[in-house]
């Protein structure tokens, strides 16, 4: 059973560096590891000092690194929908429908959905033992994590309504001695069931602490601390919990350890000390990792 480690936190706290260190640590214990960056502003290639891409590159025998492209994923999704609509809606006859679809990618919900599709791709991976996910900035990450629950809420109501429509239609068909429609053969109802299953699986995986660990990264400063409290509250609203906290660039100045422990009781808190120089390149990262051990 693969394990997922989702790194969240305020922009600039060092989520990417911490996720790189985590991926290296897991890979060194002979666990087949995938590190995937979902941040549109990728910097894993800078940290590892090597060219990377959306396809993934094996930088160690047990470590593959990937920089996923949310815009590309969004485009692929739209192309898929367009393909399905072409046969059904006299697509070519409708003027400006291509322009309409080009605008749709900017519609609310599309960016977080593209991010969710990338997260789903990680969850569908079967080649790895450990998957480390470096997330985009907080606002987008939170919207992405909210999406399965919100969509499930809508699907639940739409399914109930569709079921009632079919039930009434069948009653009328019975009176007219016509054949009834089995709800499993109703394309809309079946699609809603398929969508419900998909979002249910995603949400259960995100809430299952045995399989998914949400790692919160913060610094010893007021801004990242208050954003961390906000993240905690929002995650709790989605039924998710923080599994581990990393105080990155730790110096020990101020009573941050106490404040963090008080705000996040029962959560493991680790410290990643401030490095003397930039943490880039596998050798430097491994040296830093050995000091932590």
């Amino acid at each position: 059973m693969p394990r997922y480690h989702i790194f969240v936190g305020k922009g600039g706290v060092g989520k990417s560096t911490c996720s790189c260190l985590e991926a290296l640590r897991l890979a060194s214990s002979q666990r087949k590891t995938l590190l995937d960056s979902m941040d549109p502003a990728h910097n894993l290639h800078d940290i590892f000092r090597t060219e990377l891409g959306a396809k993934g590159k094996k930088i160690l025998p047990t470590l593959t690194v990937r920089e996923s492209d949310t815009s590309q994923k969004g485009r692929e999704y739209m192309a898929e929908i367009r393909g399905e609509l072409k046969n059904l809606y006299h697509y070519q006859q409708a003027l400006n429908i291509d322009k309409y679809f080009n605008l749709l990618k900017f519609a609310p919900g599309m960016e977080e959905y593209a991010a969710l599709l990338i997260l789903q791709r990680c969850f569908d991976e079967r080649r790895y033992d450990e998957l480390v996910i470096d997330t985009p900035p907080t606002a987008l990450t939170m919207k992405m994590l909210a999406l399965p629950g919100v969509n499930l809420h809508w699907i639940h109501h739409l399914k109930a309504m569709r079921e009632e429509i079919l039930l009434k239609k069948n009653r009328v068909a019975e009176i007219h001695s016509e054949s009834s429609i089995d709800r499993d053969h109703d394309p809309i109802f079946s699609r809603l069931v398929r969508m419900q299953k998909r979002y249910d699986t995603l949400l259960s995986l995100l809430c299952d602490q045995e399989q998914t660990e949400i790692v919160l990264v913060l610094n010893e400063d007021e801004l990242s601390f208050s954003e961390s409290l906000l993240i905690k509250r929002q995650l709790a609203g989605f039924g998710m919990e923080i599994g581990r906290i990393i105080v990155n660039k730790y110096t020990g100045r101020g009573d941050w350890t106490g404040r963090v422990a008080e705000a996040f009781p029962n959560v493991t808190i680790l410290q990643n000390p401030l490095a003397d120089g930039p943490l880039t390149g596998i050798t430097v990262l491994n040296e830093h990792l050995s000091k932590l051990a």
Binding site: L85, N151, M161, V172
Partner: protein
Amino acid sequence: MLYKATAQIEYEISEMENSFTLMLFGNFIGLPGPSMPLTLELLPDMGGELEHMLLRASQTGNGLSELASIMGEP
């Protein structure tokens, strides 16, 4: 009598189908709705429902004759 009863249920079904489509595509007319990806995913199966919604919208101003047609023959 049976005809009138089924006609009323059929009218109710038609209204429910319209509400179902409005719930999904209401954002076109400013109603709050589900996220765009959810709507888009259902769009390929909603051809008939969309046509029904447009027809229903075009008949909105003709409520009296619609009511009369549901009531049927006296």
